[in-house]
C-alpha cells in the first residue's frame, strides 16, 4: 500500500482536490481510501462516501489535531492494509500553523489557496515548508499576476517542493497530480519506527489541563507572556 498525507488550512480545497484526484486514480484501477482528521466537526466523510470512497474519520476534540494524527496513524495504516487499499490518503486540516502531520518517508502534500493572501506562505510553518508537493487552488478566480506572485512566495519558503495549480471545481490539474501519488514499487506495511519531519511542541499549560480561571496564580507549567513594553520585538 502507498500512503500520502494531505494537509492545509481549513477550506483550502483539500477535499475537492482529493476527490478529483481519486477520479483519475480509479480510472487506473487503483483502490483508494481516505481517513479524515479534524478537530470538532467534519462532513467530509459524507462527501467521500457519496463518491464511493472507503473512508474513516477521527475528531481530535480537545487535542491538537496533528498530535492526534501521530497517535493514530499506525492504526489508520493497518486499517488501509486490511481493506486492501492500493493508496491511502489522509486529509487533515492544519489548524495551529505550528504542527504538521508529515512523516519522513511518506509523501507530504500541502494544499493552500490563492485567496488566502500573499502573506499566508510566510505564516504557515512546517506544514508548508516541509512538504514535497504544494497544491495551489482557486486560481480560477484570481488574476494571472496574483497567481504568479503567490506561487513565487510559496517557492521562497519551500523551493524544493513541486508546485502545482489545481482547480478543485473542474479538476484541472488533478490528473497530473494523480501521476505523482502512486508508485507500484512502494509497499508500506507499518509506520512503527518512522519519524516525523518536524517535532511538535509538546508543552502543556494549566489551561491544557482543564483550568478555566483567569489570573497569574492559576497559571502553571509552560506559561509565556506577551511583551507589552514599548521596545521593538526580537528577530
Amino acid at each position: 500500500m502507498n500512503l500520502v498525507t494531505v494537509s492545509g488550512p481549513p477550506s483550502s480545497g483539500k477535499t475537492a482536490v482529493i476527490l478529483k484526484t481519486i477520479d483519475s486514480l480509479k480510472k487506473r484501477g487503483l483502490e483508494v481510501g481516505v481517513v479524515k482528521f479534524d478537530c470538532l466537526y467534519t462532513d467530509d466523510d459524507i462527501l467521500y462516501e457519496k463518491a464511493g470512497v472507503k473512508v474513516k474519520k477521527g475528531l481530535s476534540g480537545s487535542l491538537c489535531p496533528d498530535h492526534y494524527f501521530v497517535s493514530n496513524i499506525e492504526e489508520v495504516t493497518q486499517w488501509g492494509i486490511k481493506e486492501g487499499l492500493d493508496l491511502l490518503i489522509t486529509e487533515s486540516a492544519g489548524l495551529c500553523n505550528r504542527c504538521s502531520p508529515y512523516v519522513k518517508s511518506i509523501t507530504a502534500v500541502c494544499v493552500i489557496d490563492n485567496l488566502s493572501g500573499i502573506n499566508t506562505p510566510k505564516k504557515i510553518g512546517p506544514m508548508l515548508k516541509s512538504s514535497d508537493i504544494v497544491i495551489i487552488t482557486k486560481g480560477d478566480i484570481v488574476s494571472q499576476a496574483e497567481r504568479e506572485v503567490f506561487a513565487s512566495r510559496v517557492n521562497q519558503v519551500n523551493p524544493g517542493a513541486s508546485i502545482m495549480h489545481i482547480n478543485g471545481l473542474t479538476g484541472q490539474g488533478a490528473y497530473e497530480l494523480s501521476t505523482l501519488l502512486y508508485d507500484e514499487k512502494v509497499e508500506i506495511k507499518t509506520l512503527v519506527g518512522e519519524k516525523l519531519r518536524f517535532s511538535m511542541p509538546s508543552a502543556l499549560c494549566s489551561y491544557c489541563l482543564g483550568e478555566t480561571r483567569i489570573g497569574e496564580s492559576y497559571q502553571m507549567g509552560n506559561v509565556r507572556k506577551i511583551d507589552m513594553s514599548d521596545k521593538k520585538g526580537e528577530k
Binding site: 480510472k27 505550528r98 490563492n114 485567496l115 500573499i118 506562505p121 510566510k122 510553518g125 512546517p126 515548508k129 516541509s130 508537493i133 486560481g139 480560477d140 478566480i141 484570481v142 488574476s143 494571472q144 499576476a145 496574483e146 504568479e148 506572485v149 506561487a151 513565487s152 512566495r153 510559496v154 517557492n155 521562497q156 519558503v157 519551500n158 523551493p159 524544493g160 513541486s162 508546485i163 502545482m164 473542474t170 484541472q172 490539474g173 490528473y175 497530473e176 501521476t179 518536524f198 517535532s199 511542541p201 528577530k235
Partner: protein
C-alpha cells in the same frame, strides 16, 4: 552547483550583494538581519542551535540552509536564461479520442505570434487539450497525446516549477483580490519576476491597458475598483508584458468594455503563442487557424481563409450595430429598423 558549504561561510552582506534576490528569501522566511549583516551566515544562524528557540520559530537549521541553497540555484538559473532559449513553437502529436480511435492529423505545429482557436461542443475535450499542453504531455495523459517544445521532447521542468510555467491563463471569471493600487500591484508582480526596469515596465503596461480599455484609469486607482473592462485590460496587458510564460491560454474574452482585436495584437506582438477556446464567431475568425474538437479528439484543423477573414468585417459591422443600439437604449432613445442599416 552551489552547496550549503559555499554559502554558510560567507557574510550576509556578501551574500546579499552577490544574490540581490536573497533579501526576499530572508523576509519570506521571517529572518530579520538587523545589526548582524556582517556576520557569517553560519554564525547568524547560531540562534537556532538553541533548541527552544528553534522550536518557537519552527525553523530547522539544516532544512533552512538546504532551502536557501536550492533557492539560490533556481534563481541563478532563472536569471541566466537567454531570450534565445525561449519557446518558439509547440507541436501536438496525435493521440486517441474518447473511443480510443487514433486522431487523424499528422502533427500540428503552433509558432510564436500565432493565434489558434479551439472550438467544439461542451464536454468535447477542449480543456483536456489545453491541459495536455500545460503538462507537456508525453503519451502519459488520457488522450495519449505528446507535446513537443521547440520540436523536441518537452522538458519535465515545465510541469512543476513555480517561476517557469509554460502556460499563463486568462479566463472569464477572474478578479483581482488584492487590496492594492494599480501601481503597487504591478510593482509586486514585477518584483516577483525579478525584472530590472520596474518603472519602465509599469509605464508600458498601463499605457497598453489604457489602449484596450474603454475608459482610462490611473496608476493610483485601487485594482478592486476597476470596472470589468478595465480589469480585463489590465490583466491582459500585464500578462502580455510581465508574465514569463510563452503560451497564453484564453478562455473566451467577453465582448464588453475592451477592444479584443487590439488585445490579441498586443499578445502576439509580445511574441506569445495564443490558444483561445471560444464560441464567438468574431474571435474564432481572428485566429490564424482553429482546432475543431469532437468526442475528445482533434477532428479537424481549419485555416482561416481570406473569404472568412473578409466576413469578419461584416461581423464587426453587425456587432457595431448591436453596440450602437445598446448605447441608444441606455440614453433613452427609441430605436428603429433603419438603425440596422443593412
Amino acid at each position: 552547483m552551489i552547496t550549503v558549504q559555499d554559502i554558510q561561510q560567507k557574510t550576509i552582506a556578501d551574500l546579499f550583494e552577490q544574490y540581490p534576490f536573497l533579501p526576499g528569501f530572508f523576509e519570506e522566511n521571517t529572518l530579520q538581519v538587523n545589526g548582524q549583516i556582517n556576520e557569517k551566515l553560519i554564525d547568524y544562524l547560531k540562534f537556532l542551535d538553541d533548541e527552544e528557540e528553534a522550536e518557537n520559530r519552527a525553523i530547522d537549521r539544516d532544512q533552512l540552509l538546504n532551502s536557501m541553497t536550492i533557492y539560490i540555484s533556481q534563481m541563478l538559473e532563472f536569471l541566466g536564461e537567454d531570450v534565445d532559449d525561449g519557446v518558439h513553437s509547440i507541436t501536438i502529436l496525435p493521440g486517441t479520442n474518447k473511443s480510443g480511435e487514433a486522431e487523424q492529423f499528422g502533427e500540428l505545429k503552433i509558432s510564436k505570434s500565432e493565434i489558434v482557436c479551439i472550438v467544439g461542443p461542451t464536454g468535447s475535450g477542449k480543456s483536456r487539450l489545453l491541459a495536455d499542453i500545460e503538462w507537456v504531455a508525453q503519451n502519459d495523459t488520457p488522450t495519449s497525446r505528446t507535446i513537443l517544445v521547440n520540436e523536441e521532447m518537452g522538458d519535465k521542468k515545465w510541469r512543476v516549477s513555480s517561476g517557469n510555467k509554460l502556460v499563463a491563463q486568462l479566463s472569464q471569471n477572474m478578479n483581482f483580490v488584492m487590496d492594492l493600487s494599480v501601481y503597487e500591484f504591478l510593482e509586486l508582480h514585477a518584483q516577483s519576476r525579478l525584472v530590472e526596469d520596474v518603472e519602465g515596465l509599469i509605464a508600458k503596461i498601463i499605457e497598453e491597458a489604457n489602449k484596450l480599455a474603454g475608459e482610462k484609469f490611473e496608476l493610483t486607482t485601487p485594482i478592486t475598483s476597476l470596472s470589468g473592462g478595465q480589469s480585463r485590460a489590465l490583466m491582459i496587458a500585464d500578462t502580455a508584458i510581465l508574465s514569463k510564460s510563452p503560451i497564453i491560454l484564453i478562455d473566451e474574452i467577453e465582448n464588453a468594455g475592451i477592444d479584443r482585436k487590439k488585445a490579441l495584437d498586443l499578445l502576439i506582438g509580445e511574441e506569445k503563442i495564443v490558444l483561445m477556446a471560444t464560441h464567438d464567431p468574431m474571435l474564432a475568425l481572428m485566429g490564424d487557424k482553429r482546432i475543431v474538437i469532437k468526442n475528445g479528439g482533434i477532428h479537424k484543423v481549419v485555416e482561416t481563409s481570406d473569404d472568412e477573414r473578409n466576413l469578419l468585417v461584416d461581423l464587426e459591422r453587425m456587432d457595431a450595430v448591436v453596440q450602437n443600439m445598446r448605447t441608444r437604449l441606455r440614453n433613452g432613445e427609441i430605436i428603429k429598423k433603419e438603425d440596422i442599416g443593412f
